[in-house]
Structures are given as structure tokens and as C-alpha cells.
Symmetry: C2
């Protein structure tokens, strides 16, 4: 899985930084997480193949996380998209989008499916297909907001073809071996899966913690993550603003990552009050060394 940062500024565009948007690339399709104004321009700038976007996740309805969505939906139509598009979002978003499509008498040439995440807070699986699983969890922000866990499923176990032949396993059973099953021979002898297969790759887990006040209420949701994106709107010197505005500091993001026991921390959603962002990474690293500060255009492998 590869994450590309298209925008990581909070509230208003400033200092050349754009509002929130990220791409997760999983095998042959893309997933867009939040979609601030100008996201479609950022996609062109960073060479993102828009047509490969299958799922869009919108964490909450502050403008810096979704004002670019209508433009993208509209452009998909003008570009002749035919693949269905699935959007996971808060309750009020479909009405906002539909009102704008109606105003222009636009007929989209593709199916647009909205899947509502209730404002009361939900903790459930949104997508579970052959290659990925996406789930949501509530965070603590001024309006209803959800984070997302994206799991790229491990490749199946690898067949040891010579061993399979030696144990006379029929080819029709190979798929079940890859899925981890043992094989029972005609005489009742069990052939253990690990005798005839080799390990595949492990699941890769990315968690996007959206906009949130410092809280440990969702550490369990993201505990398995190889990488989490946790907002750091402020530095610790402005911790009072973080509380007031339902945001976190870089030090709080680090404390969260440590408590959750994740492998790596990615910072972002910087306030416009900071022209330079070097201090964020330094502040977080004092508590959680495996931290990196996101920058626009950054690509990071999970």
C-alpha cells in the first residue's frame, strides 16, 4: 500500500499548503481519503490516475475536508467515467452534492453510491473485498467525525509445488491450501498446511485518524497499524488552542501513537499560523521517534 499526500493544511489554504486529501494505492485501484478544495488539481500535479479511484472516504463536513468533492464528481462525469464510485460519508453530504448536480442539470454517466456513516458515531466494517478491508471509528471533534482503518490483505500463502506433488494433493485443492487449510488424504492422514505452503506477505494496515482532540478512545481501533496519520494542527506551545478547537498537538499525536503501540506516525493538518513545519516532527520525535511529518506530494509505503 502506498499513501500520497495531496494536502495537509488545516482550515484555510496557506503557505502553498492545500487542505486535506490523501490517496491510498492498493493493488490496481485507488482510495481517496478526504477531498479539500483543489484536490482534483493536486491529483493532476502529482500524477494520480483519477479514473482508478474506487472508494472515497469523507471523515467529516468541515469544508477543508470535502469542498473539492463536488468538483471531482463533476469532472468524472465530464471525463466520461463509467465505473461506479462509492463514497462513505456523513449524513448531510449526499444532499449537498445532489443539490449542486441538480443546479447544473448534470447527468452523471456513472453510478454514484453514497454510504452513510451515522453522525452518532459508528465502529464498523465499510468495505471487505478480496484485497482490502476498510472500517471506521469515531474520534473526538467539534462535529461528527470518523477515522478509517485501511487494511491491504496479505497475499495468499505460496504453494510449495514440489511438496504438493509429493503429498499427492489434487490441483483443485490448491486454492484452499493458499487460504491456509490442511489437506486430508484418502486414508485419513492429515497433511499440515505448512508442509506444502510458504508464508505469503503480511497484512498492511494504515489508519487515518482524521481531525480529533487528544483522546485514547480509539487506540484499540488502530493498534494493528503499520502507519497512522494523526493530525497535529498545533505545537505544544499552543496546546490551549488545540483543546479549544478540538484539535491535537504534535506531542499529543506522539503520545497517542505510543499508547496505541503502532509502528510509525505520520503528522499533518498543520495550522496556517505556522509558516514552517519542521518543529512538528522534532516535537513528536521526543516522545515517539518513528515519526515523520507529511509534506505535499510525499509518497510513503506502508
Amino acid at each position: 500500500m502506498k499513501i500520497t499526500i495531496l494536502g495537509n493544511n488545516s482550515a484555510i489554504p496557506a503557505h502553498g499548503r492545500n487542505p486535506s486529501a490523501q490517496i491510498a494505492e492498493i493493488k490496481d485501484f485507488l482510495l481517496l481519503i478526504d477531498c479539500g478544495e483543489g484536490t482534483q488539481m493536486q491529483m493532476i500535479k502529482y500524477g494520480i490516475k483519477r479514473s482508478k479511484i474506487r472508494y472515497i472516504l469523507i471523515s467529516h463536513l468541515h469544508g477543508d475536508h470535502y469542498f473539492g468533492l463536488i468538483g471531482l464528481i463533476n469532472s468524472f462525469g465530464l471525463l466520461g467515467r463509467t465505473d461506479p464510485l462509492h463514497i462513505y460519508c456523513p449524513e448531510l453530504l449526499p444532499g449537498i452534492i445532489q443539490a449542486q448536480l441538480d443546479a447544473s442539470s448534470a447527468q452523471l454517466p456513472y453510478e454514484l453510491h453514497f454510504h452513510i456513516i451515522a453522525d452518532t458515531g459508528e465502529r464498523r466494517v465499510l468495505v471487505d473485498d478480496a484485497v482490502c478491508r476498510i472500517s471506521c471509528f469515531p474520534v473526538d471533534h467539534r462535529i461528527a467525525t470518523h477515522g478509517f482503518v485501511i487494511t491491504e490483505k496479505a497475499k495468499a500463502r505460496k504453494l510449495d509445488l514440489e511438496a504438493c506433488r509429493r503429498y499427492e494433493i489434487p490441483q483443485y485443492f490448491y486454492k484452499r491450501l493458499q487460504a491456509g487449510e490442511d489437506y486430508e488424504q484418502k486414508d485419513g492422514t492429515i497433511v499440515k498446511n505448512e508442509w506444502v505452503t510458504l508464508p505469503g506477505l503480511e497484512d498492511k494496515v494504515y489508519a487515518y485518524c482524521a481531525d480529533t482532540r487528544h483522546t485514547l478512545s480509539f487506540v484499540e481501533d488502530v493498534a494493528a497499524a503499520d502507519l497512522i496519520y494523526h493530525e497535529s494542527t498545533y505545537l505544544e506551545a499552543d496546546a490551549d488552542l488545540a483543546i479549544l478547537r478540538y484539535h491535537s498537538t504534535a506531542a499529543q499525536a506522539a503520545a497517542f501513537a505510543e499508547a496505541a503501540g503502532v509502528k510509525r506516525l505520520l503528522l499533518g493538518h498543520y495550522s496556517s499560523r505556522y509558516k514552517e513545519i519542521e518543529a512538528f516532527e522534532a516535537e513528536a520525535k521526543r516522545r515517539f521517534p518513528n515519526t515523520v511529518a507529511s509534506f505535499e506530494g510525499m509518497e510513503i509505503r506502508v
Copy 2:
């Protein structure tokens, strides 16, 4: 009056070109004409003082002309604007904007006034204050669309102070002299205005013809213009597309400018099918030599 082009591409952002948005600078305030996605970023890029925007004109509700408006309105709030903002727009826009403000529970710290231009087509004065007059006129597009005429009023006539004293004109009457009145002395003698004043500057007139199919139905509305912006979505080789999609070619824009008898023509709203835009100016100039093709960041004095 100075026009700054912030975006001049049609439909979708492409080739580094942004959707429609222009600034007209009149004395100490700004007027924004259309507001495609990313307009607020373009304002930062081209050094536009956002806080000086007093009026916003939205020609029609195709996304490339207004998707950036909610972001700008929202940012004005976050930046602490207190000056009222006046938006002249189609009927459905206030509902679209309000739904998005409601979704984020945003309370704007300034007054936002919407002034509706009826979808049935209106031809009337929208603003008439000390320094400018703005009026609208219907054009011929797929959905209800209006163009705008913006007049920067001539400065008042200049006083010839020595002559004023010679004719013993009291100071309280100076303002009326500047407005062009004659003065009547106590004995009934008339002091002609031109004996005691000198000419001021002339009105400057800019017309924005929005998105339109080729038509001469609004030549009279823009006849007084020093400069008109007329869309040229296509080149003449694609004239069939222009008809089909309710747009114009560069040659048609030139024919319109000639018929209207305006002084200068500014082209724009180029289709994404053209990577290079040099051909537009050349095509229009064959019919109307005083043509210039707009480019992003261009500043042009009216």
C-alpha cells in the same frame, strides 16, 4: 479599472489552467466575477487582497463558475472578516451555500447578502454607487446565465479654482459644480459649468459576457464597453461542438465584438481539448484585430 485573470479554462481544470474567475479592481475595492474551484488559492498566488472584495457576481451554476465560492466564504469567516459581502447570483445558489455552512455549524462573523438574478433572464442595474455601476444581461447558454457590465464612473469634473473665485461662487456649491451643474448668480446671471471646471476622466466600461452561444442578442448591452471578455471555448474548426454545447468559437467572439462596436476583445474559457491557446488570438484577430487572449495571472487595464 484593472482586470486580473485568475482562471480561464472551461469545464475541468487542465494543462495548468484553472476554471473561471476574474478580479476587477475599482478604486479601493475589488469585485470578483465567477469563482471556480481553487479561486482562493489563485488569489494567494497572484497577490489579490481577499479582504477588499466587496461584490461577487456569479454568472451561472455550472461548477467551473462557482465551486470555489463556498471555500472563499468559509475562509473569509476563518480570517475574521467583518465587512458585509454581497453576492449577485442565480436562484439556487443561496440554498447550496447555506446547506454547507449548516453542515459545519459555521457562524460567519460578517453579513452575507445574496441578491437573486432571476433564471427567467434579467436586464437591470444591480449596483449603483458613487464609484461604480454594475448591471446584468441574459446570454444564451444551456442553463440560465447572465453577463455583467461594470462601469467605473468618471471622476467628477475638476474645479478651476481661480475661475471659481473670479465668478464669486461660494464653496458650498463646489460639489455641484463637480457634478456638472451651472451656477446662478444673485443677479440671475448664469455661470456656465465649463467656465469654471475642467473635464474629469471618462467612464471606463468592462463587460463580461459569461458562457454563451454566438448571438447578437446582447450587443446593445455591451456597446459602450472599452473591453469585453467574450468566451472562446472552441476554435472555428470545432464550430459544431460550440453549437452543440452552447459555447462560442474565437471567430464568433470576434464577430460579436465587431457587431457591438467595442474597443477591445479579451478571449478565454478555453476547452481542455486545446493544450496550446495561441491559435485563439490569431483566429479572432483576422476579424477583430484589437483582440488579446487571456492567460492566468494577466492584468489588463480598462
